[in-house]
């Protein structure tokens, strides 16, 4: 079924209150006038019909009473005089005095006297057993009534009177014409009133719509100017009050936003500086521990001292860990802001580059990256690199297959969704129980005591990048039993 015309009609109807009000008024008035006119016309028709039936029956009765003794006397001349007494109405089609056998004893057309009626209606009359008045025909064209001619309690014949209804039809046409005229005037008046009323109501509502559009366009000072004391003016007053409150609230929010922004900027700056300052000692710590190890290598008795060796290793490991932590904090702080143009980037190229960078580490861990065809992602390239890097890094650190004989396989896939690209970074590690899948996105959250080399904020960085683009990120059970981190990057920035 083609629904387009219905949709078009719905749109035409619901697109304008003014149209709805005007058309509703017009339709209701047409309907009411039609029903009213029809009722009046039917009443008039019934009245005229009954009147003509009553008149015809009254006349037939009079003729029948006057004719009775003439019929018994078979006095056709006398009967003709009786018929002549009823006059010559223009609507009279025929008047007949019939014997019980159907012989015409008198007729308004004298040439029929002496003949017999023989049509079906007449035969039905002659076959009637009851001696009572009959309406033989009652339609829009004519009325035909029959009255038994009674003498005492014996029927001696019939009187039939047939009247055309052209006069009645003419009267009805007059009523119809008057009705149509009244209907047209009434509908026109209703339409005018509907137009005026709906114009007044919707015109004032339109002012509110205009103000709303101006506000939307950025003119925060626009206000409705609706005069009067009706509901629309009350609505306009409330609308203006609401706009004033909103403006006030917006100003407050802007002020708070600015303050927050400043605070955030200060905080970020402080964090960046802190990281920078923290990075420096960590580097020196690494450098000094390196020097220390080289010197120790020159002293054989100390080189064999396990306590010295372990201390140096702890210093080196903590220095590396501190460096990684500072680096990830820097990444986290930078994750919410683009570091280049946000545009459509080739995710396949990004993952390929990442694979090349991690080739040595993958070799050392006996791990492999399997990458399918990835859809393009709308994101600045540096953060897209970071996003895939932290997720692969996370897998390399935490995803150790339960079977040590099995190599770690990291599968990167992707697909197009409606207005977005969806990616999946899955491993064949032990997986994460469902109750912890949300928790691991929090900073410094680890589910195991291990995870050497990880800062504990990799997934937090990923979430911050994705959500800065109004995307979503979550964890699923991977097909191969491990973790699948799924994230969606919308094509367009959403306001939600």
């Amino acid at each position: 079924m083609n629904l387009a015309p219905i949709r078009l009609l719905r749109h035409f109807w619901f697109a304008s209150i003014r149209r709805q009000v005007t058309l509703s008024f017009a339709a209701v008035s047409v309907l009411v006038m039609l029903l009213f006119g029809y009722g009046i016309l039917e009443q008039e028709r019934d009245f005229l019909r009954k009147q003509s039936v009553d008149y015809a029956q009254g006349l037939a009765h009079t003729v029948a009473v006057s004719s009775a003794s003439w019929v018994v006397a078979n006095d056709v001349a006398g009967l003709q005089e009786v018929l002549a007494s009823i006059g010559r109405s223009r609507s009279l089609r025929y008047a007949l005095v019939l014997s019980s056998e159907g012989r015409v004893l008198a007729s308004s057309q004298p040439e029929n006297v002496g003949l017999y009626v023989n049509d079906a209606l007449s035969r039905r009359l002659l076959d009637a057993t009851a001696s009572e008045p009959l309406v033989l025909l009652d339609n829009t064209a004519m009325i035909d009534v029959a009255e038994p001619v009674m003498l005492g309690n014996r029927q001696v014949g019939w009187v039939r009177i047939g009247f055309g209804r052209d006069e009645m039809a003419a009267n009805l046409r007059k009523v119809e014409r008057a009705g149509y005229l009244m209907m047209a005037v009434s509908i026109a008046a209703t339409l005018l009133v509907a137009l005026a009323l709906s114009g007044r109501v919707t015109g004032r509502l339109q002012q509110l719509v205009d103000v709303a559009n101006q506000i939307h366009a950025g003119r925060r000072d626009a206000r409705a100017q609706v005069s009067g004391s009706d509901e629309v003016s009350a609505l306009a007053d409330n609308f203006n009050t609401m706009l004033n409150e909103l403006e006030k609230s917006e100003r407050g929010l802007a002020a708070r936003g600015n303050a927050l922004s400043r605070a955030n900027t200060d905080l970020t700056r402080f964090a960046e500086i802190s990281a920078h300052h923290l990075m420096e000692p960590s580097r020196r710590l690494s450098s000094y521990s390196q020097n220390l190890r080289e010197r120790l290598d020159a002293i054989p008795e100390l080189r064999r001292d396990n306590e010295v060796r372990n201390s140096i290793e702890y210093i080196e490991r903590d220095a590396a860990r501190l460096r990684n932590l500072v680096r990830d904090i820097q990444l986290y702080l930078a994750a919410s802001e683009p570091r280049g143009a946000v545009c459509e980037e080739d995710a396949n190229a990004v993952v390929a580059a990442l694979e090349r960078r991690l080739a040595q580490r993958l070799l050392e861990q006996g791990a492999a990256i399997e990458c399918g065809a990835l859809p393009p992602a709308v994101l600045d390239k540096p953060r897209l690199n970071d996003l895939f890097a932290v997720l692969v890094d996370n897998a390399l650190i935490h995803a150790r297959p339960l079977d040590p004989a099995q190599p770690l396989r990291i599968h990167i896939g992707g697909e197009r969704g409606e207005g977005l690209s969806r990616y999946r970074v899955a491993d064949n590690g032990p997986g994460i129980p469902a109750e912890y899948r949300e928790r691991v996105f929090e900073m410094f959250e680890r589910l195991t005591a291990g995870g050497e080399g990880g800062s504990g904020i990799g997934l937090s960085i990923a979430r911050r990048i994705v959500e800065s683009r109004h995307g979503r990120i979550w964890i699923e059970q991977a097909e191969q039993g491990g973790v699948a981190v799924v994230f969606e990057l919308p094509d367009r920035e959403s306001a939600e």
């Binding site: 039609l34 018994v72 078979n74 017999y116 005492g152």
Partner: protein
């Protein structure tokens, strides 16, 4: 929206329904002959009563004939007055008739034959009615007064009472004012209303008047009656099928022999119909000759 469309549809339907019943005019059609096998015959009764009463009294007799004679249909025909009856009878328009004896005699000259008659000849006599408070005691008291009769040609109710006056010292052409008032009941009512000093009629209408208007009849008295003559005749036009005439004669003359027939006769009221022929009415011819010669001349019919 859907409801609205439904209502609009209903309104349009009603409007269209109201506009769509234009119909053609009708005209009855006519033929010269009735498509029925029965032959129709008129059976006319002379104005013994007004048409309604005539139909009430004699209609069942005609119905009886219709039930017992196949292939023929009799229609009772009344006449509004004696003149009208005479005109139809003497013009040969009537197939069967029950004229009074005077008309019976005249009909013989116009192609009719007698095949029967009413019985109870003793009741075929003229009578005179007066109001009890009229003070009329002897015939000569009528001198200078008005008297009423049904019609000039009524034998029992007019000619015989006039003959009675004649034989009792009244010259009906000079001593009284004769009013011919059209029917038996009118003649009686004229006396009751005091419009005339005396009313002439015959026993059967007087009996019926007594039955129907006992309070009025109580104010009247039958003061004189004439000698009886032969009762009303039954005649048929000469071209009527002999078998049919015989069948009618047989059915009527045997009415008194069965319960239904007696009930029908009681309505008239007579005890029987009898067979008769043209010669049966010679007595009437003789009376008429005397009447015409002595009372007033009768116009040739």
């Amino acid at each position: 929206m859907r409801n609205f469309m439904s209502w609009l549809g209903l309104a349009m339907f009603l409007l269209l329904a109201g506009c769509g019943d234009e119909q053609q005019e009708y005209q009855p059609s006519f033929v010269a002959q009735q498509a029925q096998p029965e032959k129709h015959y008129s059976f006319a009764i002379h104005p013994l009563h007004n048409p309604e009463m005539l139909l009430e009294r004699y209609g069942p007799i005609v119905d009886y004939l219709n039930r017992h004679i196949e292939g023929a249909h009799f229609t009772l025909e009344a006449s509004r007055n004696y003149e009208e009856f005479d005109k139809k009878l003497y013009a040969g328009q009537l197939d069967f008739a029950l004229p009074n004896p005077y008309q019976t005699v005249n009909s013989l000259k116009h192609g009719y034959h007698v095949f029967g008659k009413m019985g109870d000849d003793h009741n075929f006599r003229g009578i005179w009615l007066v109001r009890r408070d009229s003070g009329i005691r002897k015939v000569t008291d009528l001198k200078g007064k008005k008297v009423s009769y049904p019609a000039k040609t009524a034998l029992a109710a007019t000619m015989m009472p006039q003959y009675y006056l004649h034989t009792h010292g009244i010259d009906v052409n000079k001593d009284v004012e004769n009013l011919y008032v059209g029917s038996q009941e009118s003649s009686i009512m004229n006396a009751y209303l005091g419009q005339v000093a005396a009313a002439a009629t015959w026993p059967i209408p007087w009996m019926l008047f007594q039955q129907q208007h006992p309070d009025k009849a109580a104010q009247l008295e039958l003061i004189w009656q004439t000698e009886p003559l032969i009762n009303n005749g039954l005649v048929a036009r000469s071209d009527m099928p002999k078998e049919l005439v015989e069948r009618v004669a047989m059915l009527l003359s045997t009415l008194h022999e069965n319960e239904e027939g007696r009930a029908l006769l009681a309505r008239l009221p007579i005890s029987r119909f009898e067979r008769a022929n043209d010669a049966s009415y010679d007595v009437v011819r003789s009376f008429l000759a005397t009447f015409s010669r002595n009372v007033r001349p009768l116009e040739p019919q």
